[in-house]
Symmetry: C2
């Protein structure tokens, strides 16, 4: 059955939440083993539940990191589900739904990508997910098929090894969308332009690290309309004001 109603996209939903809470803050839910009293799924869950409760009024979104739950196996998976449900409960209490972005960085094809999408969007019930672009458009499509959900593609990350692939200069493309005045453009700029082109359903954003404002500025120029998920402010050394100056639409 084709849904033809006035469906809200993820980014319209996110904008409403941003208005409601007057904040652009995405709060990571990263229960590192070193930050919890016991290395158990229950301790990871309780750490996140406390954080959700304390910060919900200020959260434009929550971003649980799949790895820190997956490391506890089946119990971790249940804990992740409980954390996501807790965000829904706080949302109901506040009268404003807070989006949940699963930080999973999945990247696979065909029926495998469909299974990852079903896992995130149907079983866990998150509103958006982070994905790797290395396998190309058809690895993203099974996620985009959920038209009310969102994806954030890895574009330019803030780790030292990001340059191994992301900064490589790629030959200018002949297609209209990708042509550029630069002789060569870094791979991450190419990814930004691809994402801008693929965003016909208003459901693609980009992950761009906060630690390099100049890269943020270049990605913003390449993808003027897209939402950015910008990790790295604080502990990783990113400067909030500089990131906002470079990255805001």
């Amino acid at each position: 059955m084709l849904y033809t109603g006035n469906m809200e996209t993820f980014f319209t939903f996110l904008e409403r939440r941003v208005d409601d809470c007057a904040s652009l803050l995405c709060i990571g839910l990263d229960p590192h083993v070193s930050d919890i009293p016991f290395p158990t799924a229950a301790a990871a869950r309780d750490f996140c539940l406390r954080l959700v409760k304390a910060t919900a009024p200020y959260a434009a979104a929550f971003k649980p990191n799949a790895a820190f739950f997956e490391v506890f196996g089946a119990e971790g998976w249940d804990a992740l589900k409980q954390v996501i449900e807790a965000v829904a409960e706080e949302s109901a209490r506040l009268g404003s739904t807070i989006p949940v972005i699963l930080d999973a960085k999945r990247g696979d094809i065909a029926s495998t990508a469909e299974a990852y999408a079903k896992s995130a969007f149907e079983n866990l019930g998150v509103h958006a997910i982070t994905l790797s672009p290395y396998l190309g458009k058809d690895s993203i499509d099974p996620f985009l098929a959920y038209k009310e959900k969102g994806v954030f593609l890895l574009c330019k990350t803030s780790n030292p090894g990001a340059g191994d692939l992301q900064d490589l200069l790629v030959k200018p493309q002949t297609s209209e969308v990708l042509k550029t005045s630069e002789v060569y453009a870094p791979l991450y700029i190419h990814v930004a332009k691809l994402a801008q082109r693929w965003n016909s359903g208003d459901n693609i954003g980009l992950v761009v690290g906060a630690t390099q404002p100049e890269a943020l500025r270049r990605v913003r120029a390449a993808a003027p309309e897209l939402w950015f998920l910008v990790p790295g402010v604080g502990a990783q050394g990113g400067d909030l004001a500089a990131a906002l100056r470079s990255g805001l639409r």
Copy 2:
């Protein structure tokens, strides 16, 4: 504590198994919902247990796909663990340990990558994992730190969208290792050369699709020493003889 004994690397282990079973066949454990009688974790597990039992004597390795278990949440995670344990039991029965490669295509950094590595190598107990290279060397290092385990980096995949990034022509690098006689080389060749350079611990292989023998040949030339994991023979249309001609060391 630094382990200084005569540790066996993953690839030495794999070679021994290849000798024992006189086969290079890696058997995928992909319990698609469409292939199982009920969409449950138990049905996915039983499908894989039957496959493991029927094919163990001929398997150089088994490759369970994380997505088809993750889609069943906590129960799926338990099912995956049981399937991996079943391979260990068949190995004991045969008197020859069969490697298990977790097809998870993870790609993240720092403590997140450490958690994914711990999940795969310690909790699930697999011998190797597939990873995405988009975030660079430091996203691979937490896995390489397990010196007796292996990683297979995505290099050239067989899906239609592979070309969106992997085939992009990259400007020649000035470093000795990466320089090339070609004016431009595709990104996947760059990845192959990086993997060859990073393989100082004999624990890195490459994922190269079977459907494009010419790409296989080029990757083999760029990374003469690495093991390839070559999906795509059979249903996806890859020709076994052509893949072997192009990919064998």
